[in-house]
């Protein structure tokens, strides 16, 4: 089980801020493929992953990063702080 978090328009499109996901995915990209196959709202949110950023256990990383043993995976658009 891994906690999957969504922020900003990704959260709005998927409809929940956080959910626990039963997955055998070994990378972020595998998880995205699994989620996208579930329902249209995931496929819509993940349609263009170049428009998204990902953090694994609260560290920014790439979509080919491993999620083995990860507690938390978060998807969000590019950040707009400051």
């Amino acid at each position: 089980m891994v906690d999957v978090l969504y922020f900003a328009w990704v959260r709005e499109r998927i409809g929940v801020p956080k959910e626990s996901v039963e997955t055998s995915a070994s990378t972020v990209a595998d998880l995205v493929t699994e989620l996208s196959a579930r329902e249209e709202r995931y496929a819509a949110a993940f349609a263009d992953i170049s428009a998204l950023r990902v953090a694994v256990d609260q560290e920014l990383t790439e979509f080919d990063a491993s999620i083995k043993g990860a507690r938390e995976v978060a998807f969000f658009p590019p950040m707009t702080g400051g």
Partner: protein, 148 residues
């Protein structure tokens, strides 16, 4: 080093004065403050800032620690708000203290450049005719390259 992620307003004067205390060996303090900017048409009702609790504090602490090390700062401060803000309200501030002004100015710019594109905050603007998420700017991403 002080890092604060908060919904409530901060007092720029009080924060700056407190930051300047106890740094007799530092000759320069630079502060920067970010304000909620209305558009030229004056249609911004409010801005909502979302963040990633836990990661935000971690990311800001890392960025500030890097600035302190790279510019040998005496101290650094970052305050960033989240939640609903009205036009004209202060969103955030950074402060840097160093022996001479050049390092304090550069470190403050570095802090701003990094927290704009690397700290997990997202701004949504509520205009008179609808709401939209603020897009990240390519120029903000590009401005990081000068620190590499």
């Amino acid at each position: 080093m002080k890092i604060s992620v908060q919904s409530e307003a901060f007092d720029l004067g009080a924060e700056s004065t407190a930051f300047a205390q106890g740094h007799q060996d530092q000759g320069a303090i630079v502060t920067f403050t970010g304000i909620v900017r209305d558009n030229p048409e004056g249609t911004l009702q409010k801005m909502t800032i979302e963040h990633y609790p836990g990661m935000t504090e971690k990311a800001l602490s890392e960025i500030a620690a890097q600035a302190v090390e790279r510019w040998s700062l005496g101290d650094a401060l970052v305050i960033h708000r989240y939640g609903d803000l009205a036009p004209g309200e202060m969103i955030m501030m950074v402060a840097t203290a160093s022996r001479h002004r050049k390092n304090a100015f550069e470190a403050a710019e570095y802090l701003m450049d990094y927290l704009k594109s690397r700290a997990p905050f997202w701004k949504k603007e509520f205009l008179k005719d609808g709401a939209e998420w603020v897009d990240a700017k390519q120029e903000d991403e590009d401005s990081l390259t000068r620190w590499e």
